[in-house]
Symmetry: C2
Subunit: 238 residues, 2 copies
Amino acid sequence: MSPAHRSRLLTHITADLVVLTIRSGQLHVLVVERDNEPFAGQLALPGGFLRGDETLDRTAARELREETGMDPGSLHLEQVGVYSDPDRDPRVRRVITCSYLAIAPNLPVPTAGSDAREARWVTVARLLAPRARLAFDHKRILADAVERAREKLQFSTVATAFCDAEFTIGDLREVYEAVWGVELDRPNFHRKVTDADGFVVSTGRKRTSAGGRPASLYRAGDAETISPPMMRTPRARK
Amino acid sequence: MSPAHRSRLLTHITADLVVLTIRSGQLHVLVVERDNEPFAGQLALPGGFLRGDETLDRTAARELREETGMDPGSLHLEQVGVYSDPDRDPRVRRVITCSYLAIAPNLPVPTAGSDAREARWVTVARLLAPRARLAFDHKRILADAVERAREKLQFSTVATAFCDAEFTIGDLREVYEAVWGVELDRPNFHRKVTDADGFVVSTGRKRTSAGGRPASLYRAGDAETISPPMMRTPRARK
DNA sequence: ACCGTAGGTGTCAGATCGACAATCAGGGAT
DNA sequence: ATCCCTGATTGTCGATCTGACACCTACGGT
């Protein structure tokens, strides 16, 4: 082992959060501005250290509440991957992180969190742009989590996690369009989603928004997977 | 924090391997018999501690070579998940592990590994049976990795990682049948696989084995995903 | 009353699927 | 040499799914 690493046998472990939501048709992620070195002033994903008596899942849930004021019980939260490059954190103690993907509906305004740092929504497109910078290896972590979300939309029903408890098929379609960056055929999407077993359940109600016929309201069904899967058909962006 | 955990702020990190292969139509996993406490004498997944100067991916690759004598460069190796229950390891130092799924063709006899402990293949079915026991939380880790493998067969081309460099469509079909525990329709499987873009590439050669018409040999194609996916059709087991 | 907009249904041709018949090409037995 | 058994591979067909797109519905706004 090289001398540079001899002093780093003690490792700390963190959970970092990639909290995604859709705002006005764009995929957004929650970021905080760092107060301290390293990377002070730069944007980073929210996250924090594992405590001695908790699992990483609990760390992720706790940080979600502490840093963003959101309720971990109410939204989709799943482990994505571990990042363990010895040099990913320049501090003396080596830090390994486990990333979590969280999916939230639009409603909550995160900055309202209690002891939250300056947390805010930024479009994923902006943070993944070639010249964009994030602290540590968070750009990579973000990219991996977004890719995970894109894949999961195809085969699972997580898309409903982006919506409120009651939503229209149009809302759901906007989720797919925002996350995949494609435009989907309305009629076909409607049929596929309503025909799929356990994806959406009709409540009797309707919602009448500005312009257009009132849309039926649905809530998420029991199913976790969709078969056959939703297909990501490449067509020109809106 | 409770006193019981106060002394466990220092954590060690391991990589554990779920090495899968197919032997005579059955899905097998590589296990070792533990020499030391805890769980001495019990079966466990191979794995080992992260070193100060390496990533977890490198730890997994190194342990694969050291404990099983296999060449990590030649087989599929992917991170699956992190297991961080504070009580998952009864030792004083808390141990968090990251599991890796490795997929190997049948050929290598693992016990031939250099400084390998007693390593051997056991059917997954046997280890996942209700009354079966594995050290630590390795039963859960195994179950999760196998489930990951099952899912990946649907949408990706990893099934070829179970085969030798050159293989027949029948070999590939046996992989699906063993991992999914179903019987697939030969003609339809053949068509689907050969029609899928970049899944398999025909070498000119043929292999003539005992009984039956000689089968054309293929090698893995460039594609990593299959679209449309392979469908797991439930039919009676052989 | 008319228009714009978005929700939702109908239709149709082409692709895919699952089932299964039929044909091909070896080895082994007679 | 011939027949039989086994698995590989090709054909066929009806049921289903998909993607494109016409068309009808029901609101708010003007």
